[in-house]
């Protein structure tokens, strides 16, 4: 290994297959020494797979890896750690009641003759945070009193406190932060660069990538599609092109929207922490998409719409009435229907039969004097599962054993049975195969055609564009766009989600 060392990390021709999926296909990743290297790609492009290969969690099928010029045949967590590679996970992994010093030294506590060297650790932690991360913190402060950005810096300090780090991998470090706080983390990252540490920066926020990174690798479908050796503000467009690079197929039903009566509106809604000042209007027969990255406040906003979280500001109007929601049950009682994102936990009683799950929300209609009429409820379940084609067509089948798509259809069937006027569908097709997706889209279309208002929250831009009449985009807690579908294209939707502003449209 006498080559002049230019790259801190060379991963060449890496392949990794899982049953049925080629997650990485001869992928390359080169990180120049002393640089901040951006790694971008859509969900499922292979970013986390290659990180896990590097971490020694997955074993690669083929390809070579060398760290700091030394070839590493077998990667194991201990080997990688020894080579000075550190991972900053997206989750903070901090104990709320530990002090800053205790957190920084977790796992590598320093010992004196008479037990822990508390003062030495505190001074060292304070000094390291200040000198290496540009952050003044009291070593005795409890983690739960820190801001999200400060917590992130403590997490970073923990990974680097042993002064042996040469390559640090950041996975979405700013995801839990509000926009004002990201700068503090960026400053710390730049300080690390000054101190000669190389970094890989994984993020969906393309604005951050162009701000921070010296070079960028773009992944798509498990392959390296672009390597940018220089990055400037204009790179965003190139990156988006390379990330997407595929056609939008005709998956979606033809959109028809007859202007109906105003059904539901929200004005200046906020919870004072994750989303602010959100307006939303939806009419009968309309499908409205809410887009935004994870951490954009979209999930919290949707949760608030059906009463799972409390709004701290603003108000909601439904069918001409003011709406105050204390719980999801409240929302249901008001005729609002929710299909939750984690249906296995929130939406279905998995050990109950399909029929019972379908009738769960409308028991009153199949009950007489509070006793369930078994025959009637089975008959209704049968009708509904036929209508939306749930397989197996057996209301007595146990829900747990259905496929994801069919489970989702059970949830939808349940709400169809309630004849509601407002539907909130949160990630309706996550984990659903393509065939079932089409049926679910068809169902959503029918709901709207029958006069219901449908709000779809999704992280899949194609789904949004194909399904909705109108799209609003959230970025860092605020709505940055609310537009009819024909005034937005894929690139601008992605740009809005990832940087909060449109880039020059290529369409």
């Amino acid at each position: 290994m006498t080559l002049p060392v230019e790259h801190i990390l060379e991963m060449q021709g890496i392949s990794k297959a899982f049953p049925g999926v080629q997650a990485l296909d001869k992928t390359d990743l080169f990180v120049r020494k002393g640089s901040i290297h951006g790694l971008v790609g859509e969900n499922g492009a292979g970013k986390s797979t290659i990180i896990k290969v590097l971490a020694g969690i997955y074993t690669r099928d083929e390809g070579t890896v060398s760290i700091n010029g030394a070839a590493c045949d077998a990667l194991a967590p201990a080997v990688v750690h020894e080579a000075g590679v550190r991972f900053i996970h997206q989750e903070l992994h901090l104990v709320p009641y530990f002090t800053v010093a205790e957190s920084v030294f977790m796992g590598q506590e320093q010992h004196g003759v008479l037990g822990l060297a508390g003062r030495r650790m505190r001074r060292r932690a304070e000094q390291f945070l200040k000198e290496s991360l540009n952050c003044e913190l009291d070593g005795k402060a409890l983690i739960r009193t820190l801001s999200p950005a400060e917590k992130k810096l403590v997490q970073i300090a923990r990974a680097l406190i042993d002064d042996k780090a040469r390559l640090v991998i950041f996975d979405e470090p700013t995801a839990p932060l509000a926009s004002g706080e990201t700068e503090q983390v960026f400053k710390a990252i730049r300080r690390l660069k000054e101190r000669g540490i190389s970094m890989i920066y994984v993020s969906h926020y393309l604005g951050e990538i162009t701000d921070l990174c010296d070079e960028v690798t773009v992944f798509r479908n498990g392959a390296t599609v672009a390597q940018l050796n220089r990055v400037d503000a204009n790179s965003t467009q190139t990156i988006i092109h390379n990330m997407v690079g595929r056609d939008i197929d005709a998956l979606y039903p033809e959109k028809k929207h007859s202007d109906g009566a105003r059904m539901f509106s929200v004005s200046a809604l906020g919870d004072n922490s994750r989303f602010f000042n959100v307006d939303l209007n939806i009419s009968a027969g309309e499908v409205l998409g809410v887009a935004g990255l994870i951490g954009s406040g979209r999930e919290e906003f949707i949760d608030t719409l059906y009463g799972l979280r409390r709004a701290e500001a603003g108000d909601m109007q439904f069918d001409g009435r003011e709406l105050k929601l204390k719980s999801p049950a409240d929302a249901v009682a008001n005729g609002i229907v929710l299909v939750p994102r984690d249906r296995r936990n929130d939406g279905l009683v998995l050990n109950m039969s399909v029929g019972d799950n379908i009738n769960l929300a409308s028991l009153d209609e199949v009950a007489w004097a509070r006793m369930e009429k078994r025959g009637l409820s089975l008959k209704r379940a049968n009708e509904l599962s036929e209508q939306i084609d749930i397989r197996p067509r057996n209301p007595k089948a146990i829900t747990r054993f259905l496929s994801g798509g069919n489970q989702q259809k059970v949830v939808l069937a349940r709400w169809l049975a309630t004849q509601s006027k407002l539907f909130i569908l949160d990630e309706p097709t996550v984990g659903v195969d393509i065939g079932a997706k089409v049926e679910i889209y068809q169902l959503i279309k029918e709901l709207a055609a029958n006069g219901a208002a449908v709000i779809v929250s999704s992280s899949d831009p194609q789904e949004m564009l194909g399904l909705c009449h109108r799209i609003m985009v959230m970025y860092r807690g605020e709505v940055v766009e609310d537009t009819p579908i024909d005034a937005i294209d894929f690139d601008s939707l992605l740009a809005l989600s990832t940087s909060g502003a449109r880039v020059a449209s290529t369409a």
């Binding site: 750690h81 992994h93 009641y97 977790m106 796992g107 506590e109 037990g115 822990l116 926009s179 605020e478």
Partner: protein, 330 residues
């Protein structure tokens, strides 16, 4: 962008903080009331008595606190070991049976009891760490098993013990302080040091604070949790000598009261800690206060069943407040 002002620091005296301090406040009020109505409660002799009576509870609390520190203080899914009193009882039963019924020498009786304690520790560790049972259920089951074995060993009968070693723990005073209190104090200091002042202890706390955080920091979490159950069994073993001394023998059924007081004291102890978490010294303080409360109530002639009722209510408040602050933190 209005994100900059979203950095919120929790208020020092919020309703939540007040609620988590509720057990402490109630306790202090009760103690003040008792101090006034039973003036002899503050006599040095009475304080000596309270300390002496609290010793078995204090020692089992050392074990429970260690397990809770390592497993987290979620009452249901966190670390808990309900089998420590049963371990104490089985060890006491073996010691009594060996010393009195078989006339064995002290060292062999102690060795046999230690084998039983080690078995309990290993059993709990395997159930929780290797098999993955909820600690609550696993230790409840092992507790029932241990009590059953104790009944077999002692034929469910009381066994008197008058071995000089046990009598020494029971009766001797060193400089006016009961020997049991002094010995227990040594154990308390050892546990406090190990759990709160060593690297091992910090890592134990890290595991209890966040299993994931400990793991990404390179801490061997499973091993530490297993060790905590082992140490809990050790505490049960140590407690058995005090149980034996207090009763001048082993009595069937004495684990129940011990269990109640152990759980109450340990979780009450969390209210003393500024961070509102279970600590070794907090549990010890809790154990002494719970005993003071029992003694105080009896001194002013409160019916024993009311005392039970008050203790039960306190446990409820303590556990509810632990659950509440746990929810508030997540």
């Amino acid at each position: 962008m209005s994100g900059t002002n979203s950095v919120s620091r929790p208020a020092l005296f919020s309703a939540g903080a007040l609620f988590s301090a509720a057990p402490l406040i109630i306790f202090i009020v009760l103690l003040i009331y008792l101090g006034i109505s039973a003036p002899n409660l503050t006599d040095p002799a009475t304080i000596n008595l309270i300390l002496k009576q609290s010793v078995p509870t204090v020692v089992v609390c050392l074990g429970l606190a260690t397990v809770v520190v390592a497993g987290g203080d979620d009452v249901v899914s966190g670390g808990i070991d309900l089998s420590i009193p049963a371990t104490a009882i089985i060890c006491a039963g073996i010691l009594a049976d060996q010393l009195t019924n078989h006339g064995s020498p002290l060292w062999s009786a102690i060795a046999l009891a230690a084998v039983a304690a080690v078995t309990m520790g290993v059993l709990n560790a395997v159930l929780v760490v290797a098999i993955g049972m909820t600690p609550l259920l696993a230790t409840l089951a092992s507790s029932v098993a241990a009590v059953g074995v104790t009944k077999v060993i002692t034929s469910s009968r009381r066994i008197n013990v008058d071995h000089p070693f046990v009598i020494y723990i029971r009766d001797a005073n060193v400089a006016g302080v009961p020997s049991a209190v002094l010995i227990a104090a040594v154990f308390v200091l050892l546990f406090c040091f190990a759990v709160h002042r060593t690297r091992w202890g910090m890592q134990l706390q890290a595991v209890g604070g966040s299993r994931d955080a400990a793991e990404v920091s390179g801490i061997k979490t499973s091993s530490l949790v297993a060790q905590s159950f082992f140490i809990a069994a050790l505490a049960g073993f140590l407690a058995s000598f005090f149980v034996l001394a207090r009763g001048s023998g082993s009595t069937p059924g004495s684990e129940e009261n011990l269990l109640l007081e152990m759980v109450l004291a340990t979780f009450l102890g969390a209210a003393f800690s500024p961070r509102r978490i279970v600590t070794v010294w907090g549990a010890v303080l809790g154990a002494v206060l719970v005993t003071a409360l029992s003694v105080g109530f009896k001194s002013i002639g409160v019916n024993v069943f009311w005392t039970g009722c008050i203790k039960g209510t306190l446990i409820l408040i303590v556990v509810a407040s632990a659950a509440y602050s746990g929810r508030a933190q997540s």
